[in-house]
């Protein structure tokens, strides 16, 4: 693994809330072309970790590097402009706007032109192009003019990803994109993630173990804020600590499951 392929690296990240340590000295590296899944029991600190990586929360200690640069002190908008995109566990689309408008607005982050009061936003060629491309990548091509609030749940989650893609990020931090999805929608989303893999470094926080073991290239297991194991799916499946942590909680799929 070449170092210049590491797009986002966390070193010894910790985040404390008063007496509670939500994230305890976590280190990981996100590599282009890889899906890195974070799994763990509820309250393991996964969402907090994503928030710290995205810049929504400052770390209590540790560093974050984006393509070699130390971005630990960068606030979220700056990191986003630097190439980090994230999607949320609870859908954060703009329900009253069309699918296209949703994506065009997030794309506008790279072509803000706040002082240009002459040109209509809708006519902005660059953000329009980015929006169409993101809509296509997310598989929502036919829905561009639909009001976002009228989409099905699965489509809304797709839109959530599309809005993230519209900013042309290099790193994708996806917080439970499969939440609340049925079998067919899950297939579609996994297909989307597989298609996105080559160009991006993807961090995936998920509870759906089948999906995780199908799509992930590396898995990190967190319990109570600490990493108890990290490795490729085969190793994780065999890991005794993981099995102990999950005993009775989640069925770690057997070798019969073939990665997608």
């Amino acid at each position: 693994m070449l170092d210049d392929q590491i797009l986002l690296a966390a070193s010894n990240l910790s985040r404390r809330f008063g007496g509670l340590t939500a994230v305890d000295r976590v280190s990981l590296a996100l590599v282009r072309g890889e899906v890195h899944a974070i799994i763990g029991t509820n309250g393991a600190g996964k969402s907090t970790l994503v928030n710290v990586l995205a810049g929504e929360l400052p770390p209590s200690s540790g560093r974050v590097h984006l393509q070699g640069r130390d971005v630990t002190r960068w606030p979220q908008p700056r990191r986003a402009r630097g190439g980090i995109g994230r999607s949320y566990q609870r859908t954060t689309i703009f329900p009253r706007q069309t699918v296209f408008d949703n994506c065009r607005l997030t794309a506008q982050a790279h072509h803000q032109h706040p002082f240009d009061l002459f040109n209509a936003a809708a006519r902005c060629a660059e953000s329009t192009k980015l929006a169409h491309r993101a809509i296509e990548q997310a598989g929502l091509s036919g829905q561009a003019n639909r009001i976002a609030g009228t989409l099905s749940h699965g489509q809304k989650r797709q839109l959530e990803i599309a809005m993230c893609l519209a900013t042309a990020p290099q790193v994708l931090l996806l917080d439970e994109p499969l939440a609340g999805m049925g079998a067919e929608e899950t297939e579609r989303m996994l297909g989307l993630l597989a298609a996105l893999k080559p160009g991006h470094a993807i961090l995936l926080v998920e509870h759906d173990m089948d999906a995780v073991f199908r799509i992930a290239d590396r898995i990190t297991v967190m319990v109570n804020g600490t990493v108890i194991a990290t490795g490729d799916p085969v190793d994780i499946r065999r890991n005794a600590d993981v099995q102990t942590a999950y005993l009775g909680d989640i069925d770690v799929p057997g070798p019969a499951t073939v990665p997608a």
């Binding site: 949320y88 703009f94 009253r96 706040p114 240009d116 009061l117 209509a120 809005m163």
Partner: protein
């Protein structure tokens, strides 16, 4: 122009035309009232940028109206007519700077804190003008000679003349309306709307939201300054009561009467407010009770928010959703 744009432009053009011909039909009293309404319309429009577009509920907007009015009265020389060419820009610059300063501090807070903090800062401005001698204290300040716009020795616009003042106010209203329409259409306006809808989402996409909010706050303050300038010139008199927090409440009321989220709602709301106030204060209708006009006004506010929260312009949508049958369970 497509059909939807036409259906927007036509009523606006009609309203504009009505305002243009009004001085020829209305008597002096009504012309004066219409000027007041247009000034309040500009004031309401400036707040709509903040509350309606950006979602920042400020209960201290009267501060900028008042600062501009006082700046006008203080800067205008006692002995000669000032030139609008320098007086207006100076007043607007001062007001916008004040708005930027107050905004910079207030925007460190959110939600309910923001409302309370803006109220407090407006109260602070009130006390500045109420307590300090240079501003005339509670007696107020006079603007003796109204400003003019002159080219050499030729007077182009003499604001002392009622008809001229009427059309200058109308022109200002059109300009402010047009500017805000441009803002809403532009990327700046779309960003503000996104911040109102979901600020966190905008930040995650890469928008630094604080500068946007501050710019909106400062711009809104500056535009309120246009209204304040016109107000000071109109009656030639300013007093601290124009900064009273009741004024901030009144302009919010105008927005809710007309409907938050549209520019025409702000202007319609201003118009409705003036009509209601004249109505409630009318001794012809209410006799001696007219001096308690704030009672029906208060009840109107409560009723409007409770029953018609989207204002007059939101009424069609509200009625339509009432007629849609609610699906029964099971």
């Amino acid at each position: 122009m497509n059909k939807s744009a036409l259906s927007h432009a036509l009523p606006l053009a009609a309203a504009g035309a009505l305002l243009v011909v009004f001085p020829f039909v209305g008597g002096k009293f009504y012309i004066d009232l219409m000027v007041t309404t247009m000034i309040l319309g500009i004031f309401a429009l400036s707040l709509e940028l903040l509350v309606g577009l950006t979602g920042l509920v400020s209960f201290g907007h009267a501060a900028f109206f008042g600062i501009a009015a006082y700046a006008t009265a203080l800067l205008a020389p006692q002995a000669a007519a000032a030139s609008i060419a320098w007086l207006l820009p100076a007043v607007l610059a001062i007001t916008t700077l004040a708005a930027a300063a107050i905004g910079a501090l207030s925007l460190r807070t959110r939600g309910i804190y923001f409302i309370m903090v803006t109220l407090a800062f407006a109260q602070m401005a009130y006390f500045v003008f109420h307590d300090m001698k240079f501003a005339g204290g509670s007696d107020g300040l006079y603007l003796n000679i109204k400003p003019v716009l002159a080219l050499g020795s030729v007077t182009l616009l003499d604001l002392d003349r009622p008809l001229t003042f009427y059309y200058v106010t109308f022109g200002a209203l059109v300009l402010v309306y047009g500017l805000l329409a441009a803002v809403r259409r532009a990327r700046f306006g779309h960003a503000l709307a996104g911040i109102k809808a979901n600020e966190q989402r905008m930040r995650a996409a890469g928008f630094s939201t604080y500068p946007y909010k501050l710019a909106a706050f400062a711009l809104a303050g500056g535009l309120a300054g246009v209204a304040g300038f016109l107000y000071a010139v109109k009656d030639g008199f300013v007093n601290p009561e124009i900064l009273a927090w009741h004024q901030s409440g009144t302009v919010l009321l105008m927005l809710i009467l007309g409907g938050i989220g549209t520019l025409r709602g702000a202007v319609i709301g201003a118009f409705l407010f003036v009509v209601l106030k004249e109505l409630f204060q009318s001794e012809a209708l209410f006799g001696n009770f007219a001096r308690h006009w704030q009672l029906p006004l208060g009840l109107t506010i409560i009723g409007c928010v409770a029953l018609m929260p989207n204002g007059i312009t939101g009424l069609p949508t509200q009625l339509r959703s009432l007629r849609t049958p609610v699906p029964h369970a099971g």
